[in-house]
């Protein structure tokens, strides 16, 4: 079986940067600081850096696995674990990606419902957005990468944070390291979910021209994500008292409430709508990766799987109602994501090492 795609489907190595970055930087960042601050308080920013470092190690592992096998995870599963066990693992990944897409879509719709239009029906917005997703994913991998690149525009929103600078209290950060290492590590675990997304490398690997050269871009993507999250968490800590932050659901959107222009009084409308930049690339990549896995496993056309998956996501999104369900769903997914990154990827890495060693002795 040929390992790499035809040249006309591939993208340049540097495009791994927007790809990995937009897959990581999703809407979860809006409330990423709530749980870790319960554990690490004003030292959470240290945990953000630690978590970023952990993900650099994970990216390194991912590239070691992929460079050695020169194919994507779907084939690696079959090669390592045989047809049935490998197929089962692929199936778990498909379900995970579909759940991830559903969560992101539901998070965005919830923001629109709470901040903009309280009487908007969930299914209505879901169907409109999923049509957009169909249009993008049906366009192929290169179109999705284009959307990821376009979504980098969201970093312009950082300028709006300048309006809050007058309310910063720098003594909120001291005394530094008032929490034990154990508490910091617990916070790292809570922070991991917004970083999750590097697993997409397993699926896009065969679509990269000279994939070995793309590793530095993946590291750069993770670095930019870490810096962005550091800004998010640091600004939250400087702006809000710990007790105040615990009462917020979307502290990041609350920050837009400080912005005041003569021509736009409620900037959070812009901020809330702009979350679509954080959501659409992830949904597209998730749907694309899961439908591609089905294509390879069952030798069906990707376009026939796509509508079925979109309908599944649509049903899942319509079934999640209200804050409590969304929160429970997010907790579940963040657990799965955490173990996938910090348990499953190292496991595959070890299996790969063992196979190489065993192959050499034989």
């Amino acid at each position: 079986m040929k390992a790499m795609e035809q040249a006309r489907f591939t993208v340049s190595p540097y495009l791994v940067f927007p790809l990995v970055h937009s897959m990581q930087f999703g809407s979860e960042y809006l409330n990423m600081s709530i749980k870790p601050i319960q554990l690490a308080g004003h030292d959470t920013w240290i945990s953000v850096i630690l978590c970023g470092l952990c993900f650099h190690v994970v990216i390194w592992m991912v590239y070691r696995i992929l460079n050695r096998n020169e194919t994507d995870l779907i084939q690696i599963h079959r090669r390592f674990f045989g047809k049935w066990a490998g197929g089962g693992l692929n199936f778990i990944f498909i379900v995970y990606f579909l759940l991830h897409a559903s969560l992101l879509l539901r998070l965005f719709i919830e923001i629109v419902q709470v901040w903009l239009f309280p009487d908007l029906a969930t299914w209505l917005l879901a169907s409109v957005l999923l049509l957009l997703v169909y249009y993008i994913v049906a366009g192929g991998f290169r179109v999705i990468v284009g959307i990821c690149l376009f979504s980098l525009l969201r970093h312009l929103l950082i300028a709006a944070m300048l309006f809050t600078a007058g309310y910063f209290h720098f003594n909120n950060l001291s005394p530094v390291m008032d929490h034990s290492l154990n508490e910091l590590l617990m916070a790292v675990k809570e922070l991991a979910f917004p970083y999750v997304g590097v697993e997409i490398l397993f699926f896009v690997y065969t679509f990269i021209k000279t994939p070995e050269k793309s590793e530095k871009w993946a590291h750069l993507a993770n670095f930019v994500t870490t810096v962005s999250y550091l800004i998010v968490v640091l600004f939250s800590l400087l702006l809000f008292k710990f007790e105040q932050l615990s009462t917020q659901i979307w502290p990041q959107l609350t920050k837009y409430k400080f912005v005041r222009f003569p021509f736009i009084d409620r900037f959070e409308f812009v901020g809330a709508s702009a979350q679509i930049f954080f959501v659409i690339p992830i949904i597209c990549l998730c749907i694309w990766a899961s439908s591609r896995a089905v294509k390879i496993m069952f030798a069906v056309k990707q376009r026939t799987v796509l509508p079925i998956f979109l309908i599944l996501v649509f049903v899942a999104v319509s079934l999640i109602a209200g804050r409590n369900h969304i929160e429970a769903f997010q907790d579940l997914l963040s657990q799965i994501g955490f173990y996938m990154i910090f348990a499953y990827i190292p496991f595959v890495f070890l299996v790969d090492m063992v196979r190489v060693k065993a192959g050499r002795t034989v």
Binding site: P175, K241, E243, F258
Partner: protein, 358 residues
């Protein structure tokens, strides 16, 4: 497949009118709203809304709405029964609170405005000496909308004058944060004139004490760095001198000596003389003026802190400062310590310029 897709995409265009629209001409905005206590644990909300007259740009008329109820939403619903255009809180910028309600606690009202997705975090809050409703009844702004007038009054004084700044965000910050207590400007009304009479100090969410206008100026200098505002002092020979503050910096420090730790507040002021009552400004004279100011500020500052300690409130945020310098800070212990805490005030004033005459 593509035909179905096209059909669905086109049908999306028909959905654009489905969301609830809020067009400016079809809603009633209000900038100011007043909360008062009513009987049986109810609250009274008063809104001053504007009505624009068609065909006459710039001409507005104020309309006053007042209702009693248990929750704000219920009251707004009741008010809507008297309106031709629904009320919308999106532009709310000033919230006035009556003294009675403030003394009982503003927790519920605070929760309401902080929960609202449309409320600005920069909204100004103020306590009214007496009944908040009475302020909105008075005709204090002849040609301007009442809400806008009040907003500008508070905004101008908190930005450029010696009224300590406080908005919704900072109030919530000081109320929820440990080791500090909030405060709000106190408005008073006299013969159709409204003015900031001082500061209302809160313990948690309850109004407990009041500062007069002179104490308020000192409080602002001890609380934050300022760039504007005037101060005056009485010299030994009985004449008054006024200076304009062009920059002040306040630093909190913990000093440890044999009796334990104490906090010192170091205030450095830069100023220029604006009114010297024809005193000849020799170098010795300026030195004298500086010492006179320093003594004044130290005396009134110390008096202020004794007042805070007696009431058990901490509007300066000394507790929060000590927290940031101590590991494993404990709020309970701090509260016990606070009443007997030794707070020193040190002031250094520099008069840099004397206007365009000597």
């Amino acid at each position: 497949m593509s035909r179905i897709f096209l059909m669905l995409a086109v049908s999306c265009l028909l959905l654009t009118g489905c969301a609830n629209q809020q067009i400016l001409d079809r809603i009633t905005l209000f900038i100011v709203c007043a909360f008062d206590e009513a009987q049986n644990d109810q609250i009274e909300i008063t809104l001053a809304t504007t009505r624009f007259q068609t065909g006459k740009p710039g001409s507005i008329s104020n309309q006053l709405l007042s209702k009693v109820g248990h929750t704000s939403v219920g009251i707004i619903e009741l008010m809507n029964t008297r309106m031709d255009k629904p009320l919308n809180a999106g532009k709310l910028s000033v919230v006035l609170i009556g003294t009675d309600l403030a003394a009982k606690g503003v927790r519920n009202e605070l929760d309401m405005v902080l929960r609202d997705a449309q409320a600005s975090r920069r909204m100004y809050l103020a306590v009214v000496d007496g009944n908040a409703k009475e302020v909105l009844r008075k005709n204090f702004s002849s040609d301007e909308e009442k809400g806008l007038y009040l907003y500008n009054l508070l905004d101008m004084n908190e930005r450029n004058k010696l009224v300590p700044s406080q908005n919704l965000h900072e109030f919530g910050y000081a109320y929820l944060g440990k080791g500090m207590d909030p405060y709000l400007p106190m408005l008073q009304i006299k013969d159709d004139h409204i003015y900031i009479a001082g500061l209302a100090l809160f313990k948690d969410d309850k109004y407990v004490a009041k500062l007069n206008e002179k104490q308020m100026r000192v409080m602002k200098l001890l609380k934050e760095n300022v760039k504007h505002g005037a101060l005056e002092t009485k010299l030994n020979n009985g004449t008054y001198v006024a200076v304009e503050v062009i920059g002040s910096k306040v630093r909190f420090r913990i000093e440890k000596d044999t009796e334990g730790s104490n906090v010192s507040l170091n205030l450095r002021l830069k100023a220029r003389i604006v009114d010297s009552k024809a005193v000849t400004l020799t170098r010795q004279m300026i030195k004298k003026i500086e010492t006179s100011f320093e003594k004044d500020l130290i005396d009134s500052g110390t008096e202020l802190i004794e007042k805070f300690q007696k009431e058990g409130i901490d509007p300066l945020g000394l507790g929060d400062f000590v927290r940031s310098k101590t590991r494993n800070w404990n709020e309970e212990e701090w509260k016990k310590e606070y009443s007997s805490l030794n707070v020193k005030i040190k002031v250094k004033m520099d008069i840099e310029e004397t206007g365009i005459t000597k």
